[in-house]
Chain length 110, copies 2
DNA sequence: ACAATTTGTTCTACATTGCAGTACAAATAG
DNA sequence: CTATTTGTACTGCAATGTAGAACAAATTGT
């Protein structure tokens, strides 16, 4: 739960949104799936977990391991939840972009 | 005009938006001012120029040096314009975020 | 019990971006 | 031709992005 910086990157932001989009079912596989569908780009699982770890180090997400579901086999899922501090950062960066867009003299970019 | 990657970072995105917001008057000083007002964070001039250079390397912005204005003294301004390729990338990442938000099961984050 | 299979996470390594300080360049004024 | 003003380029390191392979924990079948 360090606090190395106050900045979140582009991919980190997408990961946070992906977690939110999965509600109570946010873990590695579902988060990845949401990302790939939303971005139409491949997301390697290693990249995702690295980012999830860093987000947790920064205190932006919280995680806990669930009970292993009796489906076929496989390790227990590690669930993720977005913390309030992250919501604030998301709001901030969205607001900053909006402010710049509202100054846009040509009138919107799409 | 290299093409090292297809990714744009968070700050790069803000810089692109800031350039757009300045219309025909986008150069170091005005871009920086727009950024600081929109983000409420200090932006050192070195950081900005580094990012502008990288954006130009990636072919996302175009620059040209203007005539020196007869105001007091000082070097000629280097003007920047956002290219179409950048507009596309901006659209893409905005769309990706929007897609994730629209799946948001809790109902919006602010 | 234990090897094979399945599901899922951690580790290692390097590329790209973010960020700041300092040096440098080009213009005007006196 | 020096001082001042305005503005840009250079250097170096920290933080993020990205991928591949190794590792871990569960179930199934024999």
């Amino acid at each position: 739960m360090k606090k190395p910086s106050n900045y979140i990157g582009e991919f980190e932001e997408l990961v946070l949104l992906a977690i939110l989009s999965q509600g109570d079912n946010a873990y590695g596989v579902t988060i990845r799936q949401a990302l790939e569908e939303a971005t139409a780009r491949s997301v390697t699982i290693g990249s995702l977990y690295t980012t999830l770890s860093r987000l947790e180090e920064k205190g932006l997400v919280q995680s806990w391991v669930g009970e292993p579901t009796a489906e076929r086999g496989g390790r227990a899922k590690k669930h993720y939840r977005v913390k309030g501090s992250a919501q604030s950062l998301l709001k901030e960066v969205r607001a900053a972009r909006q402010r710049l867009l509202s100054l846009e003299p040509v009138g919107g970019i799409g």
